[in-house]
């Protein structure tokens, strides 16, 4: 009895291991259960225009970093004649163009593809940005100090302080102090930063891009990132200087998080950066694969193999399903097949040839083969050479059918070459012997059984959903294995036995 318990524990653990691995892969890597799912990718172009001053030019464009909601899939730049490098350091990521000699109007393009990815998170803030020197007049003015004092009274921390300042700045009827400050040339964002800086709250100016499909000549919206440290943990929040409400991060790409400048240019003037973007729907998997090229998440899966070997595995990983079908048809239904797993091989050939072509080709080959083989029985040959003759005959037949169908304009017929010839020959040999010994009826029963199982296996193995699942969730192999094990311990009746033993039951 212990062996029995062990068996079921084994089956259950295989099954749960498989299910767990699959669910884990789905949750952690976001691989969809259904192949058709798509993910949104934003294809964004940044266009840098400037006038070069007849000399060396160095242009550095800050590029987006990993952030909540978006993952970078790829980036590239088009800029004839320029040397290009993508720089990456602790503070920021940048694209840098360099040229020894340039004059006149220049245009550089930078392209980035961002995947909408709600698994992605903001980068950890490790240190507070430093406060800068308080040289700005607005904040040091009496009006500025008054605003700060008012806000300090009605706030508890950096964020509430910012909100209080914003309330004053954006009031419908601004008070005297605010009006005084706003008259200066500086923008609201700069004023906000200056005020916060004066109140010793660290801030950073962020350039954000509002994403909308098909938009062109867009510019970055300035936002203010406010930092706060409590109990050793640094947090930050985004604020828009022209509104009191919270900033909606949806469809908002934080392009420039450097806190320095979007574009740094030497040797040129009149620079301008504008953005255009389109929204693309990509199959989720390929989007994820592109993403994974960056973070090596898939390293322990089939996906880490070269593409050529991957496609090989795509076929191999389907075989267990075909085998499962064979086991089910034999153990649960009781169908007779000629050769245990021959139907799986036939089904794999069907996948190459498409079903109808495959069926017609298979029946044609076996029928003609059987006909010729019946002549060979009279020749009194040794078995091995007889089967070898059948193999050569099958190859000739395949060539004949191929040429014939091609001449008739049926290019489909050429696919007949995908049939496994040795298997076909053995099938013909076995069926021929079966015919001689047990008659045509048994040949039809076994041949029909094999074909039925092969067609069923074909449907399961060629189905898009099953292909997607078996290839992307290796854990399902364990599930199939546990099912096969379970079927192996099934001792109940087969479907056809219910028919066979019916006279026994009906006797009374």
């Amino acid at each position: 009895m212990n062996a029995r318990i062990f068996f079921f524990v084994l089956v259950a653990s295989l099954m749960s291991l498989g299910v767990f691995q699959s669910v884990q892969r789905h949750m952690a890597l976001d691989i969809p259960w259904i192949p058709g799912e798509t993910r949104t990718i934003w294809n964004i172009d940044a266009k840098v225009d400037f006038n070069a001053n007849d000399g060396p030019v160095l242009a550095t464009l800050t590029t987006p970093e990993r952030q909540a909601g978006f993952t970078k899939i790829s980036q590239n730049a088009a800029s004839p004649g320029y040397g290009l490098s993508f720089l990456e350091d602790k503070e920021s990521k940048r694209a840098e163009w360099t040229i020894r000699e340039a004059s006149g109007k220049q245009t550089l393009y930078y392209n980035i593809q961002m995947l909408e990815d709600n698994k992605s998170v903001d980068q950890k803030i490790t240190e507070m940005p430093e406060l800068f020197d308080k040289e700005y007049t607005a904040s040091s003015s009496t009006a500025g100090r008054a605003i700060i004092n008012d806000a300090l009274k009605t706030s508890a921390d950096a964020y509430s302080f910012t909100r209080e300042v914003l309330k004053q700045l954006n009031a419908d009827v601004p008070n005297q102090n605010v009006t005084l400050i706003l008259t200066s040339k500086a923008s609201k964002t700069d004023i906000l930063i200056a005020l916060l800086n004066a109140a010793e709250i660290p801030t950073k100016k962020i350039g954000a891009l509002v994403l909308e499909d098909g938009r062109r000549r867009q510019h970055l919206t300035p936002l203010v990132e406010v930092f706060q440290e409590s109990e050793g943990v640094i947090t930050s929040r985004l604020f828009d200087a022209s509104s009191v409400g919270a900033v909606d991060r949806d469809k908002l790409l934080l392009w420039d998080q450097s806190g320095v400048a979007l574009l740094e240019l030497t040797g040129a003037s009149d620079s301008k950066v504008s953005f255009s973007m389109i929204e693309q729907e990509q199959p989720a998997l390929s989007a994820l694969l592109q993403k994974s090229e960056n973070d090596h998440l898939f390293n322990f899966s089939i996906h880490s193999l070269p593409v050529e070997d991957q496609s090989l595995f795509k076929g191999i990983l389907m075989i267990p399903l075909g085998v499962l079908i064979v086991v089910m048809m034999r153990v649960l239904v009781g169908l007779k097949t000629s050769g245990t797993f021959m139907p799986v091989l036939i089904a794999m050939a069907f996948i190459q040839t498409s079903l109808i072509t495959g069926l017609v080709g298979f029946i044609l080959l076996v029928a003609v083969g059987l006909f010729i083989r019946s002549y060979l029985s009279h020749l009194n040959l040794l078995l091995v050479s007889r089967i070898s003759t059948v193999i050569i005959m099958v190859i000739l037949l395949i060539a004949l059918f191929g040429v014939l169908s091609y001449k008739l304009g049926l290019t489909e017929g050429l696919k007949i070459t995908f049939f496994p010839m040795i298997i076909l020959s053995w099938t013909i040999e076995r069926m021929s012997v079966l015919w001689e010994e047990e008659g045509a009826k048994e040949v039809m029963a076994q041949g029909g059984g094999s074909l039925l199982v092969a067609v069923l296996a074909y449907f399961v193995m060629s189905n898009d959903v099953t292909r997607h699942l078996m290839f992307n969730f290796i854990g399902l192999q364990f599930v199939v294995m546990s099912l096969v094990l379970l079927l192996g311990s099934y001792t109940g009746y087969r479907l056809l036995e219910l028919r066979r033993f019916k006279p026994l039951v009906d006797k009374e």
């Binding site: 009194n380 040794l382 311990s489 009746y493 087969r494 219910l498 026994l504």
Partner: protein
């Protein structure tokens, strides 16, 4: 209704293929003993040691070079059988019932040329009929002169008696009568008639062909209910003693009755089919369960085991 309910089958104690494979063959037949049963030559040897009668061995052809010499074994015999030592399901058995002036005739009267016999032996040697296609040897046996008691019950062939011996207990028996449809062979799926035989008396209980009940032999018209196996005591004793001889727990023994030599063992089968249940009109499971409930240390002799079965399994 096309299908019967599985619960009804269970109630009748009918054993299915899956249960036979895992519950009985897998559990009671040790894998290493299979060659003794699957190889008819080896079966003959152990049968001889155990004093179980088998048909006369005329010769063994084990090499292609010996095929030409097949005539030396079959010349002068009234008839013979050539079979592959490792054949399964009755495949590759050539029965010649009449030899006249060097011409050979099958039970149905068709002539078989010597060249065809040689080709048949060649096929056997190449492994065409053997399990798994491995190379094989051809066994030439003397033809069994079957008992007159079966006149009219069998058409062109030797009727044999299949007894299922479970752990040495003869649990169920049936007689297999060849028909025109089965080409002189005694395999039920080829069209032979199966007649359930009462373990106690050796009398017919029920008869089927192609799994359907029949009253009369389809070729001779003889009423099958009248069938009574002669020398039944000896036959069932031989069958039961095959357990000690082979070590197989779930065994199909194929016995034949020779006119002069009485019951003899034709071959053993480690995977006996399920048709015996249909021939008997009964499920085999209750009987197997009863034997299993005895346990392993009942200490019964062959005679005691037969008595036990006669007491419990009579119809």
């Amino acid at each position: 209704m096309f299908f019967s309910s599985p619960f009804k089958l269970r109630d009748k104690g009918i054993m299915g293929m899956n249960q036979r494979n895992s519950g009985y063959i897998g559990r009671y037949n040790p894998r290493k003993l299979y060659p003794l049963v699957d190889n008819k030559l080896k079966t003959k040897i152990i049968a001889k040691e155990a004093n179980v009668t088998t048909p006369a061995l005329l010769g063994v052809i084990s090499m292609q070079a010996e095929v030409e010499g097949v005539e030396t074994y079959i010349k002068g015999t009234p008839g013979f059988v050539i079979k592959p030592a490792k054949g399964s399901g009755g495949k590759g058995i050539l029965v010649i019932t009449k030899v006249e002036n060097g011409r050979y005739y099958k039970p149905n009267g068709d002539e078989v040329a010597l060249a065809e016999i040689k080709r048949h032996v060649t096929d056997i040697l190449a492994g065409l009929f053997s399990l798994g296609g491995s190379a094989d040897v051809a066994v030439v046996e003397g033809l069994i002169q079957f008992d007159n008691a079966f006149d009219g019950f069998s058409f062109e062939g030797v009727p044999d008696v299949r007894v299922i011996v479970f752990k040495g207990f003869p649990v169920m028996a049936m007689m297999r009568l060849s028909t025109a449809a089965s080409d002189g062979k005694a395999n039920l799926h080829q069209g032979a008639v199966g007649v359930g035989i009462d373990i106690t008396s050796g009398k017919a209980i029920n008869a089927v062909q192609f799994d359907k009940p029949v009253q009369f032999h389809p070729d001779t018209g003889k009423e099958l209910g009248l069938l009574q196996v002669p020398k039944w005591e000896r036959l069932i004793y031989l069958a039961s003693s095959c357990y000690e001889m082979s070590g197989m727990g779930y065994l199909g023994t194929d016995m034949v009755l020779d006119r002069d030599l009485g019951p003899m063992l034709l071959e053993l089968n480690a995977r006996p089919g399920l048709a015996i249940q249909i021939a008997n009109g009964q499920g085999i499971l209750p009987r197997l369960k009863l034997i299993e409930s005895l346990g392993d240390d009942h200490g019964m002799t062959v005679e005691q085991r037969i008595e036990f079965c006669k007491k419990h399994f009579s119809s």
